[in-house]
């Protein structure tokens, strides 16, 4: 571990100044003629779980990618754990992690080898113990020495989650974490995320199309449409505003442009 890394693992002045885990300010991303993200602002309190909802092309993945520093904004600012992204990413990358369907783990490496490599990249102390702990928590024991490419979709998702948790991140970004999982495994993953947030006071930002998942996990929901924030509140408050009993109904109202009618009906 370098001096820089040691320094970055301690709370910094920026951490103390900014209480928010994520602060997004007038963020814009334009790809050629398309405004994928159109002037959005929000901040997430530390220890919160926030759902990012929206149809395909709403701008969720681009937003998350900008928060991670994988995509550069056209304009606007992103602060993560008090540090500007991507300029100051070296100070925070070791304290966050992510899981996304847009990336895979190396297929020929075994689960243990993959976790060992990522654990070393994140400078995890007592790595063998940490891997054993994750194997127990996420039930990886039966296939931990099997190549990642030979696992079922559900097993791969658990391995990806293990990689995302290897460094016990303060901030976890999840893009469709339970996609392609059977209901039992998906429920089990959600329970694990809830437990992790509670035990570590971690902040989780979750992009999902599964409304039940968002209702169950999130204490706040941000709904995006065509790159803009359409609504932003607690799930119960949003459902009440739209006079709906489920987030799925709200989602359909937003997706089909029935927003004003639904809100007026609620008034």
């Amino acid at each position: 571990m370098t001096e820089n890394d040691k320094a970055s693992s301690r709370p910094t002045v920026a951490d103390r100044i900014s209480p928010a885990a994520i602060a997004v300010d007038h963020l814009v991303k334009v790809y050629k003629q398309t405004r994928a993200v159109d002037d959005i602002s929000f901040s997430l309190a530390r220890g919160s779980i926030t759902g990012l909802l929206g149809g395909n092309g709403a701008g969720k993945t681009t937003t998350i990618a900008m928060i991670m520093g994988l995509v550069l904004p056209t304009s606007g600012r992103v602060q993560v754990l008090g540090h500007r992204m991507p300029e100051d990413s070296a100070a925070v990358l070791g304290r966050m992690n992510f899981e996304s369907p847009y990336v895979d783990m190396p297929m020929r490496l075994t689960v243990r080898q993959n976790l060992t490599v990522f654990g070393k990249l994140y400078a995890v102390k007592n790595l063998a113990d940490r891997i054993a702990e994750l194997a127990e928590d996420l039930d990886l024991g039966d296939f931990i020495d099997r190549a990642n490419g030979k696992l079922s979709a559900g097993q791969k998702t658990r391995v990806a989650l293990a990689k995302a948790l290897i460094n016990q991140p303060e901030l976890l970004l999840l893009d469709e974490p339970t996609a392609s999982l059977d209901p039992d495994t998906a429920d089990w993953v959600r329970a694990h995320l809830e437990r992790y947030r509670r035990n570590k006071n971690a902040t989780i930002l979750l992009a999902s199309h599964n409304m039940l998942e968002v209702e169950r996990l999130c204490d706040r929901v941000i709904i995006m449409k065509r790159g803009r924030i359409e609504d932003d509140d607690a799930p119960e408050a949003i459902m009440a505003r739209y006079n709906r009993t489920t987030l799925e109904e709200v989602f359909l109202d937003v997706a089909r442009g029935r927003v004003n009618g639904a809100k007026e009906a609620a008034r």
Partner: protein, 272 residues
């Protein structure tokens, strides 16, 4: 420049982790290992017999024993050095793992350093058996070149890394649609670097281009050593200076292409 700020505090642990990742991959796949041995062995056998044939029929080659087979070995250091670098990089693209790495604390310079070490490891696996074959079958002992061999090797491997860094940046920016450049770019250097013939064969105007390429100095130096038994230190120093410029330029190009990839969202869609 923000990208440059990401290179302070290089971690040997992270470089080691990346090397471990490629080592696991190499050891998990016998076709990958076989491929490292197969082509260099085929090359040396083919060109070795050609050298024998020519030496029997031409006085010059009888005197200049080993220039062809020596050129083949040095060319393979150049070509396999670049492939060793680039294939490790491509493994990340094929595995769709590049996003995981870019989101991890590993810095671009650490990533590139690990690819350099892997190119040396892959090169050793392929080239050492090749040189032993040349010794056994054709009685050509490349190690008898002595210290000059180290100078040739260093200059060739530095050039191979420069090319590897540059083409990796191109693939990062343009996706796997640019993969063919990885396999073919070095062949554009082949005729200009005068691998099998002296620079004097080229038209005068093309000689300027040839002397701009560091490998030309290594191949000319090898011929001077085998034919005239003279080690041209001046050639090696000039090559080293050009290589230093190329390495800095390729690293700058890689950072610019990485930044462009971030601007265009290419790191999320690393397919074709």
């Amino acid at each position: 420049m923000t990208e440059l700020s990401l290179h302070r505090g290089i971690s040997v642990h992270r470089i080691g982790a990346m090397i471990l990742r490629y080592w696991y991959l190499l050891m998990s796949s016998w076709p990958r290992l076989l491929e490292l041995l197969y082509w260099p062995a085929l090359q040396v056998i083919t060109w070795g017999f050609l050298q024998l044939y020519i030496a029997e029929n031409a006085n010059f080659f009888a005197r200049a024993g080993g220039t062809l087979i020596g050129a083949v070995i040095l060319w393979d250091i150049l070509f396999r050095g670049q492939l060793g670098f680039s294939i490790s990089f491509l493994e990340e693209m094929w595995a769709r793992n590049i996003g995981n790495l870019m989101m991890s604390p590993v810095k671009p310079i650490e990533f590139l350093l690990s690819l350099m070490v892997m190119s040396l490891i892959r090169l050793a696996i392929g080239i050492i058996p090749m040189t032993l074959l040349a010794l056994v079958l054709f009685h050509f002992n490349v190690y008898a070149l002595g210290l000059p061999l180290i100078a040739f090797f260093c200059n060739l491997i530095f050039t191979s890394w420069s090319v590897g860094i540059f083409v990796s940046g191109l693939v990062l920016r343009n996706g796997l649609g640019a993969e063919s450049i990885v396999w073919t770019l070095m062949f554009a250097i082949l005729p200009l670097a005068c691998v099998y013939y002296p620079v004097s064969v080229l038209p005068a105007w093309l000689q300027y281009v040839a002397w701009a390429l560091p490998p030309t100095y290594a191949f000319e130096g090898m011929r001077a050593l085998l034919i005239e038994h003279a080690f041209r230190t001046d050639l090696m120093l000039e090559a080293l200076a050009i290589n230093a410029v190329l390495l800095v330029a390729s690293f700058g190009a890689f950072l610019a292409l990485l930044r462009s990839a971030r601007r265009h969202g290419s790191l999320l869609s690393s397919g074709e």
